[in-house]
């Protein structure tokens, strides 16, 4: 393909790089890159890869823009609230660079659609937010022999690498053969995330994408890069291919996609299989809590939020002991040992841990408010009778 005069000017600042030149820019303009997830990690990448002139950008996301996204998902605006993320992102990409062809996939990736969708792209970028999707993408990319540019974030910390067993590096299963049990490692919704973190990690991923397209430089194959924005430290570890990996090892046993929700223990978790739930205690959802309270059951609430969080969803019933102090103060609950205790926090993760701690101390009637006070507030708001106007 030949670049137009306008394209020479538009991309001039990068095509004067000796590693790029006109030929490199042509490679970029012929590349097909799929961003799986157009949230925190996907947003900055969509903008920068579009600006760089990537020929075809696939956008895959089944979610709609909501207010809690806008602190970090910079491709979406306040005006886009309620719109599908892929539609919102396509609008911004078109405005930025009409050279880019955007293909939108407004659905969730699953074992049925993954191979068809991924096979239309050269490079796949993992911008997802859950373990089943990460294992699914990994397996599909290994089976299709495509590079997978990995990024993951948590609070102030990020991990980035390129999984490309074809080029001698490991795959995600070599690194993490087994996923953590559901609820063991909290999500961004549960533990928070610094808004600029996906910008930093996402753009490291975008840099890897460009290098893979160009075949220049030294991609993060076989290297796992950690970044910590709280201490501003970067750490690189060598990661190796596992010869016994069931997917990319010498004698693979996984040759097709499987049920990743099952693999990650989510179905067992939803079914409530006791043996599959090292995550005792039993959860209580907002609807069940209100039913119990409606029936007049005597419940003691234990709010384990930190003091500064209590203004977010005001809740003054029961006893307040921050999770950070519970280990040292749990004995103050001994007079209530025989009562039914419902432990709550903002999103239900720390309270699950707190309930587990109390169960270990001999409290037999402890329940966790799943989804936390946020879910309780949303539930009560939705179920309260609306005033006639």
């Amino acid at each position: 393909m030949k670049l137009t005069q306008e394209q020479y000017i538009r991309y001039s600042r990068q095509l004067i790089l000796p590693e790029l030149q006109g030929k490199g820019q042509e490679k970029i303009m012929q590349a097909k890159v799929l961003l799986v997830g157009v949230g925190g990690l996907g947003s900055p990448q969509a903008l920068y890869l579009a600006a760089a002139g990537v020929g075809t950008l696939g956008l895959l996301d089944g979610d709609r823009v909501d207010l809690t996204n806008l602190q970090r998902q910079v491709i979406h605006s306040t005006d886009d609230l309620g719109s599908p993320k892929v539609v919102s992102a396509r609008k911004k990409i078109k405005a930025l660079n009409a050279d880019v062809e955007t293909r939108i996939h407004g659905e969730r990736l699953n074992s049925q659609n993954a191979m068809d969708i991924l096979s239309g792209y050269d490079i796949i970028v993992d911008c997802t937010d859950n373990f089943p999707a990460r294992y699914l993408l990994n397996d599909a990319c290994v089976i299709l022999s495509k590079p997978l540019v990995h990024g993951a974030i948590y609070r102030f910390e990020g991990q980035t690498t390129v999984f490309y067993p074809e080029q001698g590096g490991p795959c995600y299963r070599c690194l993490f053969p087994v996923p953590p049990a559901p609820g063991m490692v909290p999500s961004c919704a549960e533990s928070g995330v610094l808004g600029v973190l996906p910008g930093v990690v996402g753009l490291i991923q975008a840099g890897e994408v460009i290098k893979l397209i160009l075949g220049e430089g030294k991609p993060l194959i076989g290297r796992l890069l950690f970044c910590d924005l709280l201490t501003t430290q970067f750490q690189e570890l060598v990661i190796r291919k596992d010869p016994n990996c069931p997917l990319c090892g010498e004698d693979p046993s996984i040759r097709e996609l499987i049920d990743y929700e099952e693999f990650c223990g989510l179905r067992a978790h939803e079914r409530g299989d006791a043996a599959e739930r090292p995550g005792f205690p039993y959860g209580l959802r907002a609807v069940d809590l209100d039913r119990k309270m409606g029936a007049g059951e005597s419940i003691l609430f234990l709010d384990v939020r930190e003091e500064w969080e209590r203004s977010i969803y005001p809740f003054t019933e029961g006893i307040q002991i921050p999770y950070s102090k519970l280990q040292g103060e749990w004995e103050t609950l001994l007079p209530h040992k025989d009562r039914e205790i419902v432990v709550c926090c903002l999103f239900g993760w720390r309270s699950r841990e707190a309930a587990r701690l109390l169960a270990g101390k001999g409290f037999e009637n402890v329940l966790n408010l799943e989804g936390g006070l946020e879910e309780l507030y949303v539930y009560r708001e939705q179920s309260s009778p609306k005033e006639e106007s």
Partner: protein, 89 residues
């Protein structure tokens, strides 16, 4: 030895690096750490069913080598990295 706590573990330990005097098996080191940092670390580092073993999903590299399921003898001069998979995006 120097212990480096990376993603998912640093917030529990409260610092990214810890210097520790220890000689013996890795499993003994993990038990020492769990005693020091409590329940929050124990549930991530040790297997829920078999508390003598490292959990299946925590990643531990001793002098750059992944220990996998092994329980190596440590001499006290190692640099050890510990981290978890994270899924946020």
């Amino acid at each position: 030895m120097k212990l480096c706590f990376l993603s998912g573990l640093r917030e529990i330990v409260g610092q990214e690096e810890v210097d520790l005097e220890y000689e013996g098996r890795l499993s003994g080191l993990l038990e020492t750490l769990c005693e020091r940092y409590g329940h929050s670390l124990r549930r991530l580092l040790l297997d829920a069913e078999d508390p003598g073993r490292k959990s299946s999903f925590v990643k531990i590299l001793v002098n750059g080598e992944d220990v996998g399921h092994a329980d190596p003898e440590l001499r006290g001069e190692e640099k050890i990295f510990l981290f978890l998979p994270i899924a946020g995006g």
